[in-house]
Structure formats: structure tokens, C-alpha cells
């Protein structure tokens, strides 16, 4: 606490001298890193099952629907995820599995293609690919490590009556698919309620809006979100329901055997 008071004292001096380059937000008691860390560290269940429905809508209003059953297990060190595609019919029974930890180098991904009857290891280089024709890239679907970006608080706003801190994040990797992101983080729920993604030329590319979240068994879970590609005039609505949390899933549930026959 003392550390914060000292910081504010110096900030006031800089402001008076007109030397401080950005606005100071007196109500915010967190650094940008703390805000992003709090989102990243928000309590999550050890395992969860949910039904995911993605509705893809183009500029003419034509809709396509993808349905997925997803299972996630996170023991704090490693996150294991398996997804079973149930619709549309041409991708039915395809499954995707990933193991990741804080060191992105160790991420492993496999896909099971039922027509080929083959489980294939796939490259992480596909993380900038769009997931099943949606506006979410594979990278958007996962959790980005706070240490992969530099963060700056740039303001505060209220979204649907919820106070949010605006954080600008610039990737350390200059070749990353986004040049920057701006996230509106609720300091009540530690959920990013809105996020703008900027392309490599610095133009606004996409906006993610969280339209629904619920407290389920003591955990704040995002139930509805919308990703809108501004440049393509295309959007994806994502709905998660029928959550089952902390069902006691085993590591053995995340295996090639499970990918090929489903969780029973």
C-alpha cells in the first residue's frame, strides 16, 4: 500500500510539471500488469464440460452453425482440452485435443479425422488460423500469457453498468498477428468484457464483446460472447451452456483413445 502512495506522489509531481505522457486514473489501484494477471488468474474449476454453439453470420445475414462438446482440465500447471465436433454433418466426429502449459513451446495439438481414421499431430503455427470458419483464431480460443505483451492502463469506462479498466497490450513478438489489443476489464469480476484487436497496420480488425456471464458453483463463467470482424463485416456468436464443473475428470480422459471414440 505504501508503495502505491509513493507512486501517486511522484505521478502528481510529473503532472504538475507537464512531463507525464499519459493520463492518470486516481480511482485505479492496480497496475496494468495486475489487471491482466487478475484476469489470467481468475479462479476456474479444475475441470469443466460444456456445449459450445458457434453461429457464424456474414454481411448478408446468412448463418452457419457449428456445435462442439468441449472438455477442459486445468491442474494449475497444464491445461488439457478436448473438443468433439457434432455439427455440421461433414465435420461430425472430428475431434481436437491440446495440451498446454505456461511455456508455449510445450503446446501439443492433435486432430482426429474420422474419414481418414487417423490422429494427426498438428503444428502450433496454425494458431493464427481461424477456428472452423469463425472469427476466432485458435489463439483467440486459448489463454494468452500476460508476459507475452506489455500492458498500459489507458482509461476507465462503464459497460452495461459495470466499471471497467481499459488496458492496452502490445505483443513483444513484432510478428504476432495483432499489433495491439485494448481490453475493458471489469475490476469486480476480473472478466474482459470487451476487447478490440488491431491488425498489423494498426487498424481495428475485430471486437470481442462478452454478452453473458454467470456465477456457476462459485466460478464466474462466460456464457455468451460475440466476435465481430469489422473489416470483413462478419461475426461469430459463441454460446456455452450445460456446464458441468469439477466432475472429477481424469488425465486418461484426455487421450487419443478418447479422441477416437468420445468420452463415455
Amino acid at each position: 500500500m505504501n508503495k502505491h502512495r509513493t507512486t501517486h506522489h511522484f505521478m502528481s509531481i510529473f503532472l504538475l510539471l507537464g512531463l507525464f505522457p499519459t493520463t492518470v486514473f486516481a480511482q485505479i489501484n492496480y497496475s496494468a500488469e495486475q489487471v491482466i494477471d487478475n484476469v489470467y488468474e481468475r479462479p476456474t474449476p479444475e475441470d469443466q464440460k460444456a456445449e459450445l454453439t458457434m453461429t457464424l453470420e456474414n454481411s448478408r445475414g446468412d448463418q452457419r452453425v457449428r456445435e462442439i462438446q468441449q472438455y477442459i482440465k486445468d491442474d494449475g500447471e497444464e491445461t488439457k482440452k478436448i473438443m468433439f465436433f457434432t455439427a455440421p454433418s461433414d465435420v461430425r466426429n472430428t475431434s481436437f485435443m491440446s495440451f498446454s502449459n505456461d511455456n508455449e513451446e510445450n503446446e501439443s495439438q492433435w486432430i482426429y479425422l474420422p474419414a481418414l481414421k487417423k490422429v494427426k499431430r498438428i503444428s502450433q503455427g496454425n494458431s493464427s488460423d481461424y477456428f472452423m470458419g469463425s472469427d476466432f483464431t485458435y489463439d483467440d480460443m486459448g489463454e494468452r500469457l500476460p508476459s507475452e505483451d506489455t500492458h498500459t492502463i489507458i482509461g476507465e469506462e462503464t459497460i452495461d453498468g459495470v466499471h471497467c479498466i481499459k488496458v492496452k497490450s502490445i505483443p513483444l513478438d513484432p510478428d504476432y498477428m495483432y499489433s495491439k489489443t485494448i481490453t475493458w476489464v471489469s475490476d469486480t469480476y476480473w472478466i474482459g468484457l470487451k476487447k478490440d484487436f488491431y491488425d498489423s497496420d494498426g487498424a481495428l480488425l475485430k471486437t470481442l464483446t462478452v454478452t453473458g456471464y454467470e456465477n456457476i458453483d462459485g466460478y464466474w463463467m462466460i456464457t455468451n460472447s460475440k466476435m465481430e470482424n469489422i473489416q470483413k463485416d462478419h461475426k461469430t456468436l459463441m454460446k456455452l451452456d450445460n456446464f458441468v464443473l469439477n466432475a472429477g475428470m481424469q488425465d486418461s480422459d484426455f487421450s487419443v483413445r478418447t479422441m477416437t471414440k468420445g468420452i463415455r
Binding site: R92, S108, K117, K118, R121, Y130, K232, S255
Partner: protein
Amino acid sequence: MKKKTLLLPFILLIVSQIYGTDLSLHGSLQNYIGVLPSQEFAYSIMQNTFDLSIDYYGDNSAVHLSPSLTYDLDTDLSVGLTEAYIDIYSQDMDVRIGEQQIIYGKADGVFITDVVSPKNLTEFILPDFDEIRLGVTALKVDYYNEEATYEVVWIPLFTPNTMPEADSIWNVHAIDFSDSTKDIDTSLENSEIFGKYSRYSPTIDFDIMGGYMWDDEPTITTDGDFTHHRMGIIGGSFSTTVHNYVIRGEGAWNTGKYVNATLKMDYLHYMGGIDFTLNEWNMSAQFIEKVYLNYEDNNAVDQWQNTITLMAHKEFYDNTLLFEVFTYVEFDDLNALIRPKVTYSLSDDIKVMAGCNIFLGDSGTFGQFNDNSMIYTKIKLSF
């Protein structure tokens, strides 16, 4: 067809005994038209196919049937059963009994350890990879121990490759292969057996396999007939991730391959491959080599055979348009097959495809078909 007819009631009988089943019914309808530009755009294929996939799921068991109905310009109406099997699950073991496709290995479009299921070669290797393999009547047992899987496959009934008819454009020497299995009765001593140890882990996936089998490819006899010979195989495959690249390898030692009526040789067959993404293009390259170990001069095969394959695909327009190309290049008697294809999704369930198969060279695996370069379209409705 007889064995399939016998198997079906057995499966249906089991289905009726399964308590609390859940039925799933899906399928597709496809129209496939191919023409030969070098022959005044004559039809090389005009085919309508109706594929059905019927699944029953019980608590510890499942039944799968995949019948198909094909109307072909040449062969008229035919009924087939690609797969028909029962699965029985326990804590550490799965058992699959019946007609089934069994796929081994990590190579794409090349068959090195992938020798359990025979192939439908009536249209050379042009059918999609998911359509080219035939089912085998087999008992397959998988035992799981953490990241490892031990698999045994027993095939009591030999099923060879389906070869092109004598008058097919894919049968260059107009050979009649139809009686090649006449001397192979269904008996214990004529059965095939395969074993595989496989392991998937975050660092590497690999498998080691072996088998005692029949050569799925018919060989000419001294009498001028065609028959099949016994072969042995030991091999394995792996894939791993290095930075953003997937590195794959596969190899096998094959014994007892007859290359003509009297000459029997062993050969090594191996592949190294890499998968990566470049400017949103998914790319893959493979180098494949086949070398006969105790080689003797003959007119059928060279001692060394080298092939590369190149694959690229990318999706456009919100993933509704897929462009892909798969190419084989064989270095001995330089010849190639180039297969570009465009798939457009009219909706989630209706896809329109157009592509061509371009054969280059005068001889070799692909060059021998240089009159068969083809343009085709497919329309597929899935449900």
C-alpha cells in the same frame, strides 16, 4: 459379398440385445463426373453414390454399419458395405469385431506400414484417401496402459486389393486379376496377424508394428495366372513438433515380395516428412524411398525408387472456399501426378468440388497413365 451378407444379421442380432442404445443416422449423396481431355472429353467416370452411416451407442458397446449404394455408368447399380462392426469397451481394453478399415502410419498418400486394409485400385490411387481403403473382416483388440496402446489384429479372411477390370483405362496391360485369390481358402493357417505398440505424448508420437500377411497385390505365376504370396513386415512411424514444424517419419522392412513369377526379394520402404504453415498456407512435403535389398536384375522393378510428395492447402472467403493441391513426383523415369482441387461450400451441408488429375511423363508409376489426365466435378450433400 457373401461374407458381408452373413455378417449383417449377426450385427443386427447383437444390436437388438444392447440395452439403452442411442441411434445415430448420417450419410451423404455424391455425384462424380470425370472427363478425359485427351480423348475428346470422353467420360472416364460418371457415378452417383449414396453412403449411410448407422451407429448405435450403448454404455459399454457400439455398433457401426456403413452401407453404400453406387450407380456407375459402367457397372450400373451396386450395393456395398464399407464397414460393419461391433465395439466392446472396458476400463483398459477395446475390442472391435467385424468388417473394418484399419489405418497405420504417419505418411500421407503413401502406404508404408499402412498395409492392413487393402486398397480399392479400380481408379488407380485417385479416390480420396478416405475412400481408397477397403474394410477387412477382423478381430482387433486394443489394450491401454497410460500413454501406451498395445494392439493385435487378427484377419481370418483374406481381402486383396480391388484391381481395375481388364478393359479399364487404369489397367494398362488389360490383365484379368479376377481369379487371383482362388487358392486362398479361409482357414486358420491362411489368416493374417498384425501387432502394434503405439504411444502418444506431448513430446513425440510413435508406433512399432509387425505383421504376417498376404501381399494384397496379385503377382503373375509361371502358368500366366495371378496369385498372392505371403509376406512379413516390421516397421514403425513417429511424429513430433519442432518449433512450428511437425516432423514425421515412417519405415518398414518387407520380406517375401514377389516382383514376378519366380523372383522374391526383401525391400526397405521409408519416408521423412515435414508439415508447416507459410503465409496461412498449410504445407507438407515428404520424401519416400524404396530399396530392394537382395536385388537381382529384372524387368519389373528398379532397385531404388525415389518419390517426393508436396501438399498445400488454404481456405478463402470465411473458410467457404478451399484450394488444395497434392503432387507426387517420381524421379526414376521422371514422371508425376499433380492434383489441384477447389471445394466451395454452398452451405454447411452442400459442397461443390472441381479438380483435375494431371499425369506427366511417359512411363513410371504415374507417367504410364499420361493419356488419363482428367477433369472432374463432384457435388456432395451431407446429412
